[in-house]
């Protein structure tokens, strides 16, 4: 769905720092949403930790950087890092070009995939959250 110019597919789940999460087989796939990539500008660096890194929900596990912004990726669920998008190592701009596709970032093996139900999901929740953040970042 489009929310004031931001493309926010409503079938995805969203973590409050503007990362999307979706189920893919036994794993969860995570990436940056359109709101964050537009706000950040050209992404120049994505930290790609080693597979197997333990993830605790709400805890920082990686850094992302644009020319003007340093972002942190927080674990959306408990589990471990199962894979990373190695293309981003030399082409982090893929996040700007295709944040929901070729610009995916991390693959996670969740302890309990049902934990994603606690994330932001569905048209109403999504609209309310994005509109609030548009206001917040106007300042």
């Amino acid at each position: 769905m489009d929310i004031q110019g931001y493309k926010m597919p409503d079938e995805l789940y969203y973590e409050e720092n503007h990362f999307w999460i979706k189920e893919e087989g036994d794993f969860l796939v995570m990436g940056m949403d359109d709101f964050a990539q537009k706000l950040a500008g050209e992404i120049v660096y994505v930290q790609l930790p080693e597979e197997g890194k333990e993830l605790s929900v709400g805890k920082k596990f990686a850094k992302i950087e644009s020319g003007k912004w340093l972002g942190k990726a927080f674990a959306p669920v408990n589990g471990e890092l199962a894979g990373v998008n190695e293309e981003l190592e030399t082409n982090p701009g893929l996040i700007n070009q295709d944040c929901y596709g070729k610009g995916w970032m991390y693959k996670i093996k969740a302890q309990d995939k049902a934990e994603i139900k606690k994330l932001i999901h569905g048209p109403d929740a999504l609209t309310k959250w994005v509109l609030a953040d548009i206001e917040k970042y106007k300042k």
Binding site: V44, Y45, G67, E89, T90
Partner: protein, 390 residues
Amino acid sequence: MVFLLCAFVPLSLCPSLRRRRPMESKYDFVKKYREQVLQCSRCGFCQAVCPVYGATLRPSYNARGKMLILKEVMDGKIPLNDELVETLCQCTTCASCHKNCPSGVNVPEIIKEVRKDLVHIGSCHPAFKGMNEVLEKNTNIYAEEKGPDFGRAKNQKAEVVFFIGCVGTYREDEATEATLDLLDRIGVKYTLIDEVCCSGVLEDVGYQLNERLAKKNIELILATGAKTVVTGCPYCSRTFNKKPQYQELKDKGVKVIHVSQLLKDFDLGVKTDKKVTYHDPCDLGRHCDIYDEPRETIRKIAPGFVELPHNRVDALCCGAGGGVRGAFPKNSLAMARRRLQEAEDAGAEVVLTECNSCVHNLANAKLRKQKFRICTTTQFINELMEAKEA
């Protein structure tokens, strides 16, 4: 015919004489550095050492290319305008060219002056303009509202002030935490202060050092009664020691040193069997001639120390300086990757350096296949001490 005409016109209008007596230029770089620009003999020694050329292979980006362009500007053949921003702003001011120039042309100083001219005519790189705007409104270069709490005393009376710097506070805070732990371990009595950006970088990107910020730092340092400031950042140390806006520190008997100069006198009592190498930061090495102190410390803790092929005055720049990381991030990381290739070829397991900005850029550029560690010397020593205590 020309001769006849010249005989009847004022001397100053005669073309051949006009060439000998150039009009006063509207650009400050011409007033200050005209002779230096003309001194460039176009030998190209700079091309071999320029990190921007090394990453881009574009001759206009190295010092010789830039001097040729500036000569054209001085001769009025091309204007100084937006079209030259991409070329003239792409210099890390690492000073490799200057140190290797047989004619002694001080390219970084010329480039800094040209950038000021670009600002004056309204042709400035947006990232450089942004840096100045950020420091007009904020107290750090990243416009962060709040930094991490390092859990140390601030603004206390102490013998030593430890000055962290913006990168150490907002980008490499783990390295800073480790440095503070190390200072505690070796018994240095220091205080932190509510420091603000030293703002030296503004001089590199076409602006003036921010007087308001300089005054704030001086006031906070003097209030502690400390006679020594130890900086975690080579650039801050260089700014405090060399910029007139910080002269008051010297006048009041405050000595400013980099943490590597402090550490060399300590018996650290730890060793590593890892193959360690060292990356000379430009701000510590070429700009301040500090090459030996870091090595003295590293040799004490790492008998397996190896030099990188380009070291000391010939060290390759990491690509972060002169505003290049902010304005041209892709080329900046490409420069860092060239440096890391040397570390990989040397078989290093640990790359140490003395600059958080270098750590930041090198760590960002490191490929996953490169398994060596990159960190500051202080962070590495602190970890060795922690391990020994455990």
